[in-house]
């Protein structure tokens, strides 16, 4: 074990004291993530990397029940639906351009459509939505019954936009009704204090000549309200584009580190340091494990450092300290460890099958780019249905998705960890076996 750690430490030291490697491993992905992530942060104020901001596939479920007050029927849920799915497609006040909304009768069906990728986001208007907003003797304290926004973590921009729409519309309803409530309460209070005014107000109300115009009250207002945004798994989500760009770039560059780490085995053989190690009283398997373990630890350090720097950058952008990867740091570390293992496995197999370091550079570059391409390092793969299923074959996808899930405050990353650890363990052992056989000739 001591020798394994000595080899690991030597590899870590030589890697992290090499300025060129630091530039490639840390500075480049950090710069790319920061530039792109910051650009998207400013662009949509909390959006993400699923850029389509037209025709967002949206599922709408309206469970709202109308409410009758003084002979007038109110149904804000229906108003909501009419804004998103107008009967007249030319209606300029509609959000037709922005969303491609469909009405669903059940929340389960809407969630399934998001799960399957048919829709990016689903909103569920609760049954007491109108009741909660409407001022009446039965409901003197108006409030907002939360509208649930379901989204896939991989469609953060769409979720952000829909969340904004929901916020704005609900804001209008709430502000308007709050104004009505305040006005009526003020009139009643004055009528109670001034009997003459009370009589006059009563007569006007009874004759129907009291027709207050509350339309202005229903103009958009900035009054903040809280709407719980949820993913399909049902937990609150706060999206930060740095998480998506940062994790996808970190994993993309980690692939190179993993492949180069394994390639160092061939480089050491070329430079004769490997033979020197083999000629020492050190079992071959110890040397191999030390080398591969060193690569694994290097990858972990690389991503941990990147994540720390990205957290600092995210905090600087936000103007306050932020745990952009979520509060479950142990789970984040577990994903880093599992993803690094998977990448090291890939690196080990590539290097074990190659004959020369130069071959590894060429083949490894192709493998890393292919994994990055299908894993979402360059564009939003889920937006292209033809290749979206392929992304599930890459550790990049499982890693990025797990980081997004944790950043969203969820913990449901068991499948991701199993897949990543499985890929890593199998390929790691295959690489180890091939290397061991090659060194035993």
């Amino acid at each position: 074990m001591r020798k394994i750690l000595a080899i690991t430490w030597k590899d870590l030291y030589t890697t992290f004291t090499d300025r060129n490697l630091i530039l490639i491993m840390i500075v480049t992905p950090l710069a790319l993530s920061t530039i792109v992530g910051s650009a998207f942060s400013g662009f949509i104020g909390g959006g993400g990397n699923d850029v389509p901001i037209r025709d967002i596939p949206l599922a709408v479920v309206n469970l709202d029940q109308p409410v009758e007050v003084n002979g007038q029927s109110f149904n804000y849920g229906q108003t909501f639906v009419d804004l998103l799915i107008p009967s007249n497609p030319d209606d300029s006040t509609s959000l037709l351009q922005l969303t491609d909304a469909s009405l669903f009768s059940k929340a389960d069906a809407a969630q399934s459509s998001v799960n399957s990728g048919e829709k990016s986001v689903a909103i569920v208007i609760p049954a007491d939505f109108t009741r909660s907003l409407t001022y009446s003797q039965d409901n003197p304290d108006i409030h907002v019954s939360p509208i649930e926004v379901y989204s896939n973590p991989s469609a953060p921009v769409s979720a952000g936009i829909v969340r904004s729409i929901v916020e704005n519309i609900t804001n209008i309803f709430l502000t308007g009704n709050a104004t009505v409530e305040a006005t009526i309460e003020a009139l009643i209070a004055r009528a109670q204090a001034d009997p003459a005014f009370g009589v006059q107000f009563g007569l006007a109300s009874a004759s129907g000549s009291f027709q207050p115009d509350f339309a202005l009250a229903f103009q958009p207002d900035s009054a903040p309200i809280t709407i719980e945004q949820q993913t399909v798994r049902g937990t609150a989500q706060t999206f930060n584009p740095l998480v998506f760009f940062g994790s996808s770039q970190a994993l993309f560059f980690m692939t190179f580190t993993a492949i180069q780490g394994a390639n160092s085995m061939l480089e050491e053989r070329r430079d004769w340091t490997l033979q020197r190690l083999i000629a020492s009283p050190t079992p071959r398997i110890t040397i191999l494990l030390g080398k591969l373990f060193g690569t694994w630890v290097t990858c972990i350090f690389q991503v941990v450092l990147l994540f720390i720097f990205l957290t600092l950058i995210g905090s600087l952008i936000a103007g306050e300290p932020q745990l952009i990867w979520g509060s479950n740091l142990l789970a984040v570390l577990a994903v880093i460890v599992a993803t690094s293992l998977a990448m090291c496995g890939i690196g080990a197999v590539v290097a074990a099958l190659a004959r020369t370091p130069e071959q590894v550079n060429v083949v490894g570059g192709i493998v890393a780019i292919a994994l990055g391409l299908f894993g979402g390092a360059f564009f939003y793969v889920q937006a292209i249905p033809q290749i979206a299923p392929l992304s599930r074959l890459t550790p990049n996808y499982w890693g990025t998705e797990a980081f997004a899930t944790l950043a969203a405050g969820q913990t449901d990353i068991g499948l991701n960890l199993i897949v990543l650890a499985g890929i890593g363990a199998v390929l790691f052992l295959v690489g180890l076996a091939i290397f061991n056989r090659r060194l035993s000739v």
Binding site: K3, Y13, T14, D271, Q275, R276, L277, A279, S280, P281
Partner: protein, 338 residues
């Protein structure tokens, strides 16, 4: 009681698969004994099986057949014990260039099981032994070729091995550093009692430092012994070298030298083409006739007369007393650098 034999090699053989699937026998049942405390040199032209043999002894290659024992430990059955007694100084600078000399020594020391204060003490001793105390914390990549060679040797000595294998340790260094390395090798034997297994392309080096020499060719040891014993094996022949420039020498004339001049045992013609570096055009042709003869000075007039009769213009003549190069040439028919 400790055996006087440090290395016993018995029927050691290695067969590789060729590109077309054929078996290539690189080493064909080598047998040799290296005594404790001696400097033993292994000579052989390229492709003779020298590297393969030593790779098997060092545990880098698994033998197809046979075995070697280092200090009584079999390299196939007790490889770790055998390797613990062996220090390796490869021809290549097998060091990590971005680590300092001390960090390299420290790392390889750990690979030989040294730890803590013992490791630190040994590294200090080695740094002094290779005379690099001032530069011990500098990166290897900043060192001159000679300094790198010294660290390369130092790594092999860290764990005080009983046997040290040095593969052409003087390649690519200036005469001053070469002298230093050769002195070091002799100090290892004389002051530390180490057994040295040495290979070199430079006959003078081998001749100077070796107690015994083995010559390997075509995967077999074809001669072994002290320099004197080897010279005796070839009958203490002198080596006569005729430079003939661009002239070609027919086989018939070479045969005539052997048949008509008393004491001549072999005559070989070699043509060395010298080309311009950039254009690769032929700049010069150096033809050399090498003749092995007992009492060469006596044979010289007859040889020159036959050459003159054959209208061969001999441009220069050199007569050398029996030496290792002559032995090697005689036994292998090739110069060591061929």
């Amino acid at each position: 009681m400790q055996s006087q034999v440090m290395v016993e090699v018995r029927d050691l053989a290695k067969t590789f698969k060729g590109k077309n699937g054929d078996d290539i026998q690189a080493v064909k049942g080598v047998q040799l004994d290296i005594r404790r405390g001696e400097i033993y040199s292994l000579l052989g032209p390229n492709g003779a099986g020298k590297t393969t043999t030593i790779s098997m002894i060092s545990g880098l290659l698994a033998p197809t057949r046979g075995d070697a024992r280092i200090g009584g430990h079999s390299i196939t059955r007790e490889p770790l014990q055998a390797k613990q007694l062996l220090g390796v100084v490869p021809q290549e600078i097998a060091l990590y260039p971005t680590l300092s000399a001390r960090q390299n020594l420290d790392f390889f020391g750990k690979m030989y099981g040294l730890t803590g204060t013992e490791l630190s003490r040994r590294v200090d001793e080695i740094v002094d032994f290779i005379d690099l105390r001032e530069r011990q914390n500098d990166r290897i990549e900043t060192f001159s070729g000679g300094m790198k060679r010294r660290v390369n040797i130092g790594v092999g000595l860290l764990h005080k091995p009983q046997l040290i294998y040095m593969d052409e340790p003087t390649v690519g260094i200036d005469p001053q550093n070469r002298r230093r390395v050769l002195d070091t090798v002799q100090r290892l034997q004389q002051e530390m009692g180490m057994t040295v297994l040495y290979t070199s392309h430079l006959m003078e080096e081998v001749q100077e430092i070796s107690d015994r020499i083995a010559i390997i060719d075509h995967g077999e040891i074809i001669a072994e012994g002290t320099l004197g014993e080897l010279i005796q094996q070839i009958g203490e022949e002198d080596r006569l070298t005729f430079k003939v420039g661009t002239q070609s020498v027919p086989d018939a004339l070479l045969a005539q030298f052997k048949q008509e001049v008393e004491g001549v045992t072999s005559a070989v013609y070699e043509r060395h083409d010298v080309t311009n570096g950039e254009s690769e055009t032929l700049a010069q042709v150096d033809g050399i006739v090498t003749i092995m003869a007992k009492r060469g000075r006596k044979a010289l007039p007859d040889l020159l007369r036959i050459a003159d009769d054959a209208e061969l213009d001999v441009l220069s003549v050199e007569v050398r007393e029996p030496d290792l190069e002559g032995v090697f040439l005689h036994l292998t028919g090739r110069a060591l650098r061929d």
